[in-house]
């Protein structure tokens, strides 16, 4: 995928027999995290028209891959238990093992897929010419 295409499509779905695999792109780690969150909500919901709720997340992990999994699973937990869908993701603080974020969105309008969890299976975040990319497998 060219860097132009990556900006247009920050993720692509990969073939996986039973579950859901995707490759997500970003110019840097914070953008990768935001794009991964967008991609996850993209496949499991229809976006609400306007944001009416805001949630705060504070996460620490042993490494960046674990932080990415925690980030996605925490968002999925909030989505499921609060019945909300998030469309805006602002990382106020970000280090490779820590983040503080504000996410906003609205009540879930339509759900298209249930994601049980983001997994660690073959999870890789690698540098590329255009920034970074991650391969993520979700249990669905």
């Amino acid at each position: 995928m060219s860097s132009e295409e990556r900006r247009e499509n920050p993720y692509e779905l990969l073939s996986h027999t039973a579950d859901l695999a995707m490759r997500v792109y970003g110019r840097d780690l914070p953008e990768l995290f935001v794009n991964a969150a967008r991609a996850m909500f993209d496949v499991m919901t229809v976006s609400p028209e306007k944001g009416t709720v805001e949630r705060h997340l504070l996460l620490d992990a042993g490494d960046t891959e674990a932080l990415l999994v925690d980030w996605l699973n925490e968002l999925n937990f909030l989505h499921e238990t609060e019945e909300e869908t998030y469309t805006q993701f602002v990382l106020d603080e970000f280090t490779p093992t820590h983040l503080s974020a504000r996410v906003s969105g609205g009540p879930t309008v339509e759900k298209t897929l249930v994601i049980k969890a983001a997994t660690y299976h073959e999870l890789r975040i690698v540098p590329t010419d255009a920034g970074v990319e991650a391969t993520i497998v979700f249990d669905i």
Partner: protein, 483 residues
């Protein structure tokens, strides 16, 4: 990547890759399959994932997979991993999976299915209306904190105590529907919150309720013992521990990330993360996993009651009996403590089943007395267009597969590919002309199209020919509701 050439045929339907294949393997890895299944499994990561399970600390004899093997995350789906918990042997949340105690139960009617066919459309519509399914948050029930803790400790027994079901039901569930090692305190508040409105709900994905008919009886004696006869109406239920189980697995995978280096465990795949069983972390997960398994048994008990009440509402006065009795309920994502002969000594092991069903043969004390002489019922659902099977556990399972058999047909096509293949509406019409009345979301139906699955007949034939579990009855679908 491992190929066919790396595997040696060790039985007519079993292939093994030696532990010398990779330096980190502790035991060999075995696949119960025929040539076509082995060839098919070598096209994706399934075999590599099976080999990875042979690296877990404490694994004994060989790690194995059933013929319905397909690519998962961590282990392949269809895996059975036997671990000696002594001397640092581990328990692995990732090798058990997110849907803890996802499983199947089969209800049997005394009716011939044809007696119900005139009311089938009405019945399936009512089931779709009465059994909460799909992607919504949950059912109408909201468990209080005290109720949730009681469900986690008591499982299906909690539901029966509320007069939703009978003692006869409890006698026909693996473990009586309650694992004794459960501890509610080992389950996080987040997991309890995620599950608090989901008791008695089907969920989405491959979960379903199927009204079916016994088409063929293969094993007269077992069929008599199980109370099955040709033409009989049966109901299949497939569901698990819902969001509660997903969160338990997520929580412990997260917690274990921080401790694995302390135990000096090196793994080929981070999703297989584990901890010594006899460590505080290992014991906590075992208690939480047991609690989630109990939640799943309570869930399937509630679902069965909703189905019974729907049968009563629609069929009372129209047929001779609307009673549905439980044949059996089996788990297929779970860790169990079971004893097997290892090098001439009876040894308690931790059997991790990820997409595999317990299949105890004759004489095992864990089987309900009524089935003990013949072996436990093994329930193997296929897809919604073809067939499903009732098998009986055989001695071969005790000797060769740590009391395990296959759990289904196994996916052949990704959900994404299935959506491109067919629309839910077209599938629904096609099945209607086959005499199968289906309700569900358009997307959910399309993802579960029969073509997305391998042929369950082939999987069951391998298990039957291997002497792991023997064919008793083949059922065909008449009506299905999907999430």
């Amino acid at each position: 990547m491992a190929t066919r050439a790396d595997f040696v045929q060790v039985e007519p339907y079993a292939y093994e890759i030696a532990k010398t294949y990779r330096a980190d393997m502790r035991v060999s890895a075995r696949l119960y399959a025929d040539e076509a299944i082995l060839e098919s499994a070598s096209h994706d990561r399934s075999l590599e994932q099976l080999i990875n399970t042979a690296t877990l600390p404490g694994v004994v004899r060989y790690t194995l997979a059933m013929p319905d093997i397909h690519q998962g995350y961590g282990p392949p789906i269809g895996a059975v991993i036997p671990i000696d918990p002594r001397n640092g042997g581990v328990i692995s949340p990732g090798a058990t999976g997110y849907d803890i105690n996802c499983g199947v139960r089969l209800l049997k009617s005394v009716l011939h299915a044809e007696e119900v066919r005139p009311f089938l459309g009405e019945l399936v519509n009512a089931l779709y209306a009465n059994v909460p399914s799909g992607m919504g948050p949950g059912g109408e029930m909201h468990l209080s904190d005290e109720e949730m803790d009681a469900v986690l400790l008591e499982g299906a027994r909690w539901v029966v105590r509320r007069h939703l079901g009978t003692l006869d039901d409890l006698e026909h569930i693996e473990e009586g529907g309650t694992l004794p090692d459960a501890r509610a305190g080992a389950v996080s508040e987040a997991a309890k919150k995620r599950g608090s409105t989901q008791l008695g709900t089907l969920g989405s994905g491959n979960h379903f309720v199927e009204v079916g008919r016994i088409e063929t009886i293969y094993h007269e004696e077992a069929a008599r013992t199980f109370g099955l006869f040709p033409g009989q109406l049966v109901v299949w239920i497939h569901s698990g521990s819902r969001g509660l189980g997903h969160q338990v697995c997520t929580d412990y995978l997260r917690r274990y990330q921080g401790v694995i280096t302390r135990f000096g465990i090196v793994l080929p795949d981070r999703e297989l993360i584990c901890a010594p069983f006899h460590s505080p972390e290992g014991q906590d997960y075992f208690a939480a996993m047991s609690a989630a398994a109990n939640f799943a048994w309570a869930n399937r008990q509630m679902l069965a009651e909703r189905i019974r009440r729907t049968f009563a509402t629609i069929l009372a006065g129209k047929v001779s009996s609307h009673e549905l009795r439980l044949l059996y309920d089996v788990a297929h994502n779970i860790v169990k403590r079971e004893s097997y002969q290892i090098e001439g000594t009876l040894q308690e092991l931790l059997i991790h089943r990820k997409g595999a069903t317990r299949a105890f043969g004759p004489g095992q004390q864990a089987i309900p007395p009524v089935y003990r002489a013949i072996g436990q019922p093994v329930l193997v659902p296929g897809d919604m267009g073809r067939a499903s099977y009732v098998l009986v556990g055989a001695q071969g399972a005790m000797e060769k597969t740590f009391g395990s058999a296959c759990h289904g047909a196994g996916r052949a096509m990704s959900r994404h590919a299935a959506l491109k293949e067919i629309s839910g509406e077209v599938l629904q019409e096609r099945l209607r002309w086959q005499g199968i009345f289906v309700r569900g979301s358009a997307r959910g139906l399309a993802e579960e199209t029969p073509e997305a699955y391998k042929d369950v007949d082939e999987m069951v034939e391998v298990v039957h020919q291997s002497g792991i579990a023997l064919k008793v009855a083949r059922t065909v679908p008449m009506g299905v509701i999907k999430g």
